[in-house]
Symmetry: C3
Subunit: 324 residues, 3 copies
């Protein structure tokens, strides 16, 4: 695996899920793989779970890890070509990426969208240039439009907690928030669930208010409804997440119906497990009674971030070793 | 040892002191203990000595360390239950603690008091919830009301430097400062020295101006005086520290008499060794002539932070191993 | 090697260059040397290349690394003696250095000049006190007036890429910038190249506009010209770098002639390789067509930072081991 940027970078979905679960039962079984290999984690934006779980995954594989918080170091990167850098950017992504690729065997990067210019954000210009110029395998720690380590984790968690014989009904449910958030997590979750649905692993439904449609490239095959009740009926997993509007880009649109999930609206589900990528705003996005109740899976889900990251890093290390 | 939050978490004071000194003479004797174990250090406030000494202690024990500066990452934590999180806090301590506990075998946390609301600070609500929800052993890297790694270090340093046959006279002496500082260090030092006094290890006196009384729960058994001269007479160890008022909470009260210790006022001591937890404001809290003179013990004291932390982490690791 | 602050700390220039290149071909050949040794990297200013390359060098040698970003932690250090610390500085360099020296076997520190007071900056007071009080070997990660790890890297890179039989002509060429930058990199490069010239390894020329003269202590023996064309004629290596004025200290002076190097002005060189310490402002300091063309050596140069740092750390570790 040379890059982990979207679900398209995974050839065989069930096997990487199985690999993550095998690593969970045997965390240190491959610590020889990462010997004398260094992972560089570059954060242009804050991170808690992604930072710690990816670092832990690398440690489990025997790697050394160097963390670089570039937002804090005032190190603004230029991405545009052909412009004189006489402004606030101090280094071009071409140099920054190439140099970091010479110090590290694998790189991870996080870069949020600015939510100002949809075309710019969705071009993934920064991330694509980073992957192009660094010369080593790159794992996305969340880009402007996707969060694949989270989505792999989510699929692993669903697989781990599904005992049924038929396919589980998985619902992505929009939730309220006080801030305008990126679409990266729901885009990515939807992209992965549509792929899982196409491979016969889940049935996938998205519920959101009007105006919150995700970009079509991420939702091919999903059932989409504006009725939360309709979506929840018979659901086995409910994935709660806020996002800002894609059509009215980066905006919070007025919503009249209640969209925060509490125990009462879960009644029509099939005893659904409730997921969230965290951090979660209690009693804004999701009721405390759900988070503190038996249907919540959010801590288990966050814990699984380690095994998803470890499966990805393991595949990258295997390829590095193979190339040597 | 499941938590190290106050002196009450230590069953046998002399034995943990002896353990720290044994580790000082044999730093790498237990590096197998921490193999494949990860320490997470969470800082909600800045740290120099605590961060480096605890990290070094963990390295000596063979652990991997992940450091998280959450103050810098704009990751404000909510502690109150039952409130809708529609404000500036982005994550509840319930989730944050539980998740970090899934990535780490032992956690350390630093959280200063805000010095606005005494009841809130002294409730130690944040710290107690962190310990309750994270599910793994927690070492305090300084909480609102205590700094136990510092206090253990101080006791180790006194033991190491006391050659007398009788008990040493230990004095905690209030000192001036330009900023309003927490009571955590003096509370904790007093708590530990009162315990040491009760076990027959030291004689303990506190000297401070009127209005600077510490909370009684920390000073049981201590001799308390408002006369610096009286306290210093015959002293073997003088522990210099500023703190803001507890009764007029968080305030700097006007003080008329001179309280900064210089060589002249040390004349009535028993050639006392002078201690300070650092950082120290030279010639405000403590005279340069003392810090640069033969009676100062502050660098040795700071160096001992490693062995105190290592003793605590060693006990936690032994318990983890025992549980497996 | 007890300190690495300037070229004067290197006894034998060719042998440390050879050592760096040997480490490049055998990165892990000395990883036993750093076992149970800790490197502390203290940054009072931001760093990308220096931080990552030095950390990687230490990892290759088997060391543990602790990174401390003190600029971010609001930990302002006092350097003056004999003043009451009643202002914004929270700790004196005497204590801070001494304490860090007790936690680490080797220390690195970065401290930029303030560019306000030339005498203060050029006294290197902070750095010299840090080396004096910490009690362990210190490697400069860039001080107010020098950047020796960069300069050693530059000499290594020139040596690596020079196939000629005679000495290469090396040119340090001033370049425009939008910000006032320190003289540390050009001072240091000049200091190292003058030494290399004195040892018969290179011919060294400096080209800069009037008013941009470097301090004489760094340029002894260099040919100095105000004509970029004259300097470039027959050049084998062109080292591009901006700096602010030393005589009109810290100022950007008006410059009329074009000083940004592009492909057209490289025509009179001997197919010169173009170097830059990075980060570089594209099309302000140096034309994109050069950076993206076959004569640019900047990424190779940055990559070599690892081996320069590793050679220095290796020598320090050998001395530590020898002392034991």
């Amino acid at each position: 695996m040379k890059q982990f940027f979207s679900v398209a970078d995974v050839e065989d979905l069930p096997s990487i899920v199985a690999e993550a679960l095998e690593l969970k039962s045997n965390p240190f079984g491959y610590e020889h793989l990462g010997r004398r290999k260094t992972l560089g984690l570059v954060f242009l934006n804050p991170s808690l779970r992604t930072r710690l779980s990816t670092q832990k995954a690398a440690i489990n594989l025997g790697m050394d890890v160097m963390v670089m918080n570039m937002d804090k170091d005032g190190w603004a990167l230029e991405t545009k070509d052909g412009v004189a850098m006489a402004g606030s950017t101090v280094e071009h992504i071409r140099e920054a990426a190439a140099v970091m690729g010479r110090y590290c065997d694998i790189l991870g990067m996080r870069s949020f969208p600015k939510l100002q210019d949809r075309e710019e954000d969705y071009s993934e210009d920064l991330f694509k240039k980073f992957m192009r110029y660094c010369g080593v395998p790159v794992v996305s720690l969340e880009s402007a439009t996707r969060h694949p380590l989270q989505s792999l984790t989510d699929l692993v968690t669903i697989r781990e907690h599904w005992q049924g014989v038929s396919k589980p009904k998985v619902v992505l449910a929009w939730a309220p928030h006080v801030k305008a958030l990126p679409q990266a997590v729901p885009n990515s979750f939807s992209e992965w669930m549509c792929r899982a649905q196409a491979e016969g692993l889940v049935d996938f439904t998205i519920a959101h208010p009007q105006g919150y449609e995700l970009a079509e490239e991420f939702t091919n095959g999903a059932a989409i409804t504006h009725s939360l009740d309709e979506a929840l009926t018979g659901a086995d997993f409910v994935y709660v997440k806020n996002w800002s509007s894609y059509s009215d880009y980066g905006k919070i649109l007025p919503v009249t119906a209640p969209w925060m999930i509490d125990n009462s609206v879960l009644g029509t589900t099939n005893g659904a497990k409730v997921m969230h990528c965290l951090p979660v705003r209690r009693d804004v996005e999701l009721a405390s009674e759900v988070l503190d109740g038996p249907q919540a899976l959010v801590i288990e889900e966050a814990a699984n971030r380690v095994w998803a990251a470890q499966a990805v890093l393991k595949r990258m290390l295997e390829q590095l070793t193979h190339n040597v």
